[in-house]
Amino acid sequence: MTHGTTSRTLSVGALARIEGEAAMHVSVRDGVVEDVALRIYEPPRFFEAFLRGRGHTEPPDITARICGICPVAYQMSACQAIEDACGVRVEGALRDLRRLLYCGEWIESHALHIYMLHAPDFLGYPSAVHMARDHRAVVERGLDIKKTGNEILTVVGGRAIHPVNVRVGGFHRAPSPAELRPLRERLLRARDAALDTVRWVASFDFPDVQGGWEMLALRHPTEYPMLEGRLVSSGGLDAPVHDFERHVVESHVRHSTALHGSLAGGAHHITGPLARYSLNFDRLPALARTAALAAGLGEVCRNPFQSIVVRAVELLVACDEALHIVETYEPPARPFVDVPARAGRGCAATEAPRGTLYHRYDLDAEGTITSAVIVPPTAQNQAAIEDDLRGFVAPRLHLDDAELTRQCEMAIRNHDPCISCATHFLDLTVERR
């Protein structure tokens, strides 16, 4: 490469293997990184605007369409926020079913990211299909785990993408124990495969990088967080979810159609597997804790490249938890509890595969929505991803454009950005002047 000593400009095509469309812009002058921007081009779809005027029973089906990868996360946050507004709590077997459905989504989404989107980076392939030419059995194992997640979603939710069985108050129909029974064998196998996955990804080479961001996640008194919890951070935040909007502030920056989230004090934060794990290590089931330590993870993990290991540990958590629910399932007396409309405000946050997902609705007395606020995980992670890149690019400017681009893409994929959620397409442009 014949870069000048003081100026060089390059632009590279689309960044692949993320969910949605965004671009990456890096400009370098005289060997100094001047600016890094994660540009989200995904055209706006205006969910928060057209939710106004809709009925209080509609957000689970409507907001699921924000993201085809994590529709259950949207359905769970939406249901619980509406139930909060109407003063209803969903407990017992219905809550277990919700957690089982959510485990299905974690399994499907994490297996997709680990095997199809992220691992090819570490092993030097452009895709999982290319990787399968040399590692067929490994890719088949990943697909089988992913399929198990989809089977849970199909049995409990009706279908894998945009499940039809979820409603405010619970489900339209509760599955019978006989319907859940075949999942047991599948989950036993998937749990073993998840253990193998932890060992496999722990063997990859990881650059020695530490993120300086604050970490934000839910924390539950006894469970690894999924459906609910208090909002906690590595900076000492410990607040009820009702205070979410006081602590996480959204701002609109010129280069993105996703609003940027940051903490009220101005600190950039991440949400997602690294944060969840580091703030809830003591909530991991014993099996997952042992596997994590054996894989070389500490109780806190700040290396974004090791997020693939943490994701594998969470895959194990979800398989173990789903198995437990399937084995102890007693169907609820009714598939849902009534949620009569009333005027008020309700909010909820749940742990989507990519991090904390917050919904808030204001309802009038008839249950018509008068305002809606949705804060997805990737929008919160955007600023921290930019910070990661800024720090990552500087010591790697000696690399040629192709290699620098490849490594930057990898650094972005560490956070499993879901641009569909944040609004989507990573095009990488590195401008060197």
């Binding site: 706006p44 205006f46 085809g68 989809n150 409603r167």
Partner: protein, 260 residues
Amino acid sequence: MTAAGTTPARLPSLAVWKFSSCDGCQLTLLDCEDELLALAGRVRIAQFLEASRAVEPGPYDVSLVEGSITTADDVERIRHVREVSKVVVAIGACATAGGIQALRNSADVGEYVSIVYAHPEYIATLAQSTPPSAHITVDHELHGCPVDRGQLLEVLGALLAGRRPRIAAHSVCVECKRRGTVCVMVAHGTPCLGPVTHAGCGALCPAYARGCFGCFGPADTVNLGSLRGALRENGASPRDVSRLLRTFNVGAAAFGEAGE
């Protein structure tokens, strides 16, 4: 080299394109866990950004298009897709009817922008969310929010075999009878769009004790006037009927107009 001795370069090429959408329909392709590797042996995945960073230049034999057209740039891009593709298949409610984001079509998009964004001047968007067919000739359309995995494989298999895809044009109601599910509207008075909704899901919702909510869009021949009457008789208010029809396929004339 494959067993038949043909080089991978001579396999038919497949491209997957994304416009405004949730990614769920293209994810359906990755959800074909049992068929994906076999499929990859029969087609060359030449462009599929969600799955691979290896991108081959066109032309492509088959292009799957997900998403609706909502920006001026999209209009240029969908024309490009047509130019470089032999066969264009639109997949999903966004690519066949404009998706749920077509709710803007009857609203003031400027107001929508100001509700969601602090700086409306940063946002470039069209006032209408339209399907690709409003801009280019589309060869096949696959309905659904999301598309059905079986139907997607049928279309790809048919195109590979050089035959017409077998996609039913009847309603969900027919599928429901075939499945032997008790009619939720007749037995329980549950509002159901099954009689007017395009088949393809296998009559999923009634099997889960809920009414069809029309995510596959209108069937080829529908009598919405009659269904509206039946829904009203079962206690649905005009507002309930309007909400039911105005979701993911609001951009399809039969639903959008009846829901006004």
